[in-house]
């Protein structure tokens, strides 16, 4: 481990811890994010009138749409609001790589979204009566959320600097993450109702996450700098 890499890790950790502390003390985005995900699940239950015969195919879709909406909502509040308040400008003045700032924002938010999901998935499994509480759900949720957050964090930073603000973030994020939604829903469906010769959905989720974390890390500087 070289010294500069070690320094980057220290900086990453310092920014993440700062964000968590701020989040735990003040805004409590994760509480509204979690409540939003729960509300979305309830709304979908009535919108699609889930019954025994269709719950395996509709349930995973409802779960992932709820996660997508909640993630974009949460990222808009944390990354976007930070640009609004000017605290990002001060962070940019520090001698820290832009890649490190992006990764710190991404990982810090990822942990909050994952906490929301750890609460939401058991609730989903119980109220939808869908058996998703198996170890197989862990890589799907982790990789799917990483992909959504990688794109979401980048374009939350973009939309916060326009006239449209939070309206624009989902408009930019949703079309790009459609592959994640397809792959995550299909992989979750396969947990409920195993499919023979299924497509390599986990591989697609992993590839998407790797590609967009890289794209985000490389281009974040052009979005936030003057």
């Amino acid at each position: 481990m070289t010294a500069s890499f070690r320094l980057s890790l220290d900086q990453l950790w310092a920014i993440i811890v700062k964000d968590w502390r701020a989040e735990l003390r003040a805004r409590q985005v994760w509480v509204s994010m979690g409540f939003f995900a729960l509300l979305a699940l309830v709304v979908f239950n009535f919108a699609f009138d889930l019954r025994v015969e269709n719950k395996a195919s509709v349930g995973p879709g409802a779960l992932w749409v709820a996660f997508l909406f909640a993630s974009v909502l949460g990222l808009g509040r944390t990354v976007g609001a930070e640009l609004d308040h000017g605290s990002m400008d001060r962070l940019l003045l520090c001698p820290v790589d832009r890649q490190v700032i992006y990764l710190a924002k991404l990982l810090g938010n990822l942990v909050f979204i994952l906490i929301v999901q750890v609460v939401a998935i058991p609730i989903f499994a119980v109220i939808y009566d869908v058996p998703v509480l198996t170890p197989g759900i862990i890589p799907i949720v982790a990789l799917g959320t990483l992909g959504i957050a990688a794109v979401g964090a980048l374009f939350a930073a973009v939309s916060a600097q326009t006239h449209a603000r939070e309206v624009l973030a989902p408009l930019l994020t949703f079309p790009l993450v459609i592959p994640v939604i397809i792959a995550a829903v299909k992989a979750t469906e396969a947990l409920v109702q195993p499919v023979a010769n299924d497509a390599p959905w986990l591989g697609l989720l992993a590839a998407f996450a790797i590609i967009y974390v890289s794209v985000g890390a490389l281009t974040f500087q052009y979005v936030v700098e003057d």
Binding site: H163, L171, P175, K186, A199, L204, A207, V215
Partner: protein, 256 residues
């Protein structure tokens, strides 16, 4: 820095260079316009009269001569956006930014037309305008959504330099998504037993007259794409020049 010199400003040397470039743009537009004007009627004639009527599909197959060029050119247009966006972030030259903007606008128009024409064909041949089981159709539709959001971002950021950089980031991220979207929508339906396998409308078995019609139409639409992109680019340069002049005029009046 070299990149700073390339930023056009209003010194006289640059102004002459700009006037020279504008003249070349105009010549290019005239040449492309004449070419498209000649080829487009030939393409229409070849598609409607010269090419034989399809044995299976009937006359509705003639839509293909318009549909295929309109389906291929957006991918070219969005590839231009991708490359121009990378070059803009790398060289910081606003001409790349304007090229990306122009190509995206024309690409979205072509994609819109392709979707409409494709739905007409679907209504005529499948009996319904849309089929989510066709991965090409679905991929292109998602592509259309991505570049609509690109134009929305352009609209919301105006002419700022930061807005141009953010659009470039989306232009790069959007094009990288194309193969991933294609894989996901292909796999999405192919595992279902009720998959609707479509008749391949590829050109391998086409008679010579049909190949000719397709080729002429492709060249005509390619000229149209280049012409429209150059024109949008030209109008963007004029708009920026006007904004600069206005800013200068305001400077002068505030000084005096």
């Amino acid at each position: 820095m070299k990149t700073l010199d390339q930023q056009p400003n209003t010194t006289t040397a640059n102004a002459t260079a700009q006037a020279q470039r504008a003249r070349w743009l105009l010549y290019g537009e005239i040449a492309l316009g004449i070419g498209a004007l000649i080829l487009m009627p030939i393409a229409i004639w070849a598609a409607l009269a010269y090419a034989p009527t399809d044995a299976v599909q009937g006359d509705v197959q003639r839509i293909i001569y318009v549909h295929v060029p309109l389906a291929i050119l957006p991918y070219v247009a969005f590839f231009v956006v991708f490359v121009a966006s990378i070059l803009y972030l790398w060289r910081n030259d606003e001409r790349w930014d304007m090229l990306a903007h122009a190509s995206a606008e024309v690409g979205v128009v072509f994609t819109t037309l392709m979707l409409i024409v494709g739905m007409l064909w679907g209504q005529g041949f499948w009996g319904r305008p849309w089929d989510w089981a066709d991965p090409r159709l679905t991929t292109t539709f998602i592509l259309w959504l991505i570049y609509i959001s690109y134009l929305l971002l352009r609209f919301y950021t105006g002419n700022s330099e930061r807005g141009a950089r953010m659009a470039a980031v989306l232009g790069i991220a959007g094009f990288i998504d194309v193969p991933i979207v294609h894989f996901s929508v292909t796999w999405w339906r192919s595992i279902h037993p009720d998959t609707n396998y479509l008749v391949d409308n590829g050109s391998s078995a086409l008679p010579p007259a049909a190949t000719f019609a397709l080729l002429v139409s492709f060249v005509a639409f390619t000229l149209l794409y280049v012409l429209l992109t150059v024109q949008v680019y030209h109008s963007l340069t004029l708009r920026r020049a006007a904004l600069r002049l206005r800013a200068e005029a305001e400077d002068v009046t505030s000084e005096s």
